[in-house]
């Protein structure tokens, strides 16, 4: 009975911010000290489907950026993790992979901004992409290092003696073996790029308005309703990804 009560209380605490977000999204005017909004309107949500809606464009931009970062970082991380494993001094390379985490992303952005400007990528999607990859690639590399064990090497060698070319060994054996870890890397690097604000805001100089950047803008402008709608949109892809990966995530905790 007590544990049931505790579970319900925890579930309520977890759900409360989402309920508040949903209420804010449909409340054009909800002023303190009213406990509930005085009026409700679906106007802001309806505006989402308008062709020139900036929020929807931001959602598209964010999905594109985060997806490209996830795919490129995972592929690069997989290859780099393998190269590090086979390097003469793998420990040194691994330590180097931790370097981007010694700095907060926004400070990293400050440091790389001069290079981004010289590359004529300042304020462009390419510039933001490059910045995000600087964080996501080492992350994926470190995550995927655990795949390249001696056993992975033996699987690869066995596949070669069974008749696989190096490419076939990769596609037919190594990638299926690594898939659970690759999926985790894709998911986590996607989230890393998806929720980034500091680095994206600085490198984009206000020109690449991702959804996360827009949430911060609306919060800054005290536009609670649009901030709530943007936040709900921001939650959508991670929720879908969590749902799609629920089996793998639950299996891990067993």
């Amino acid at each position: 009975m007590r544990s049931k009560l505790l579970t319900t209380l925890l579930a309520l605490l977890f759900a409360l911010p989402f309920v508040l977000l949903a209420l804010l999204a449909v409340a054009p005017a909800w002023r303190f000290p009213a406990a509930l909004p005085a009026a409700y309107s679906l106007g802001a949500l309806r505006d989402l489907v308008a062709a020139d809606n900036e929020l929807l464009a931001g959602l598209g931009r964010s999905v594109l950026l985060a997806s490209v970062v996830a795919v490129v970082a995972t592929i690069a991380g997989f290859a780099l993790a393998r190269a590090i494993t086979r390097a003469v001094r793998p420990g040194r390379w691994e330590a180097l992979s931790y370097l981007p985490y010694a700095l907060p992303p926004v400070l990293l952005a400050v440091l790389i901004q001069p290079f981004i400007i010289r590359l004529h990528l300042s304020g462009s999607v390419g510039g933001v992409l490059l910045g995000l990859l600087l964080i996501a690639v080492p992350f994926a590399t470190l995550l995927l290092r655990s795949f390249w064990t001696q056993q992975a090497r033996e699987y690869e060698q066995l596949a070669r003696t069974l008749g696989c070319t190096a490419r076939q060994a990769l596609w037919q054996v190594l990638l299926p073996l690594a898939w659970p870890l690759l999926r985790t890397a894709l998911f986590q690097t996607f989230l890393l790029a998806w929720f980034d604000f500091g680095l994206t805001n600085l490198l984009s100089v206000g020109k690449v308005r991702t959804l996360t950047v827009q949430v911060f803008t609306y919060v800054g402008e005290a536009n609670a309703q649009l901030a709530a709608v943007a936040s709900l949109l921001l939650l959508l892809p991670p929720t879908l990804l969590l749902w799609a990966n629920k089996n793998a995530l639950l299996r891990k905790t067993e």
């Binding site: 056993q151 033996e154 699987y155 060698q157 066995l158 070669r160 003696t161 069974l162 008749g163 696989c164 070319t165 076939q168 037919q172 054996v173 299926p176 073996l177 898939w179």
Partner: protein, 248 residues
């Protein structure tokens, strides 16, 4: 009998440390060369060089007179079997065994028929659709063996393949190996640290110590060589037997 495999002057060093020193031997078709050796004697390096997974510093490897060294591992038709069965967890037992045929793009109907026949021969027919994790250790090793046999390897390289099995399963696998090798006339190089296993599976014998391979002309020579420790082991069991007889 002419040699299927001829190895001469094979040498390999790692970081200046010699691992193989001037290895030379020949192997005729259908023979099983059982190589006895302790851990770190160079057994794995020797097998990997033959499989094309390592390159030697010097020496020649000829298979039916053809220089094997420039040939990549996938074209050597030599399968390297590890101590672990290393079954592909994303494939069923059937597809694990069929793997080599699928890679070679053998027509599906032909490949499936060959796999079914081999699975029956290895007493695995009822496990065909199972996932590898549903099998026992011995069954997994049999699948691994089947996956190697299906491509009709010119040479089978076995690196202590039954080392992780319990005594009974290990004995069963040795008998299975013997039966299948004779039936399919498989030529193999079988390395082990167990002298009993070497005597069970081998038709010829070798002893590898600190990178130097000695081959023996007969079983008697192999048994009598003090390095193989077989005489000492025989004496041990004879003493045990005598003590048991004398003890009331």
């Amino acid at each position: 009998m002419s040699d299927l495999l001829r190895v001469n002057g094979l040498t390999k060093q790692f970081d200046g440390q010699p691992v193989l020193r001037d290895i030379a031997f020949g192997l005729a078709e259908g023979e099983v060369l059982a190589v006895l050796g302790r851990s770190g004697c160079g057994k794995t390096t020797l097998l990997k060089i033959l499989a094309g997974l390592e390159t030697p510093d010097a020496g020649t490897v000829l298979l039916q007179g053809e220089n094997l060294l420039p040939v990549p591992p996938n074209e050597r038709q030599m399968v390297y079997l590890y101590q672990e069965p290393l079954l592909f967890p994303h494939l069923s037992v059937f597809e694990n065994v069929a793997f080599g045929l699928r890679i070679r793009k053998v027509p599906r109907a032909v490949a499936d028929a060959q796999v079914r026949t081999l699975l029956a021969e290895l007493d695995l027919a009822e496990h065909a659709q199972k996932a590898p994790h549903q099998l026992s250790g011995g069954q997994r090793q049999r699948v691994s063996f089947g996956r190697a046999l299906i491509i009709r390897p010119r040479l089978l390289l076995l690196d202590e393949p039954f080392g992780n099995l319990d005594a009974q399963t290990r004995a069963d696998m040795q008998q299975l190996f013997l039966r299948v090798s004779r039936q399919h006339q498989i030529t193999s190089l079988f390395v082990t640290h167990d002298s009993r296993e070497a005597l069970t599976v081998g038709t010829r014998f070798g002893y590898l110590d600190r990178g130097v391979l000695s081959t023996f002309a007969s079983v008697r020579e192999f048994i009598q060589d003090p390095r193989t420790n077989i005489q000492a082991e025989l004496s041990f069991w004879e003493n045990i037997q005598q003590t048991a007889v004398l003890t009331p």
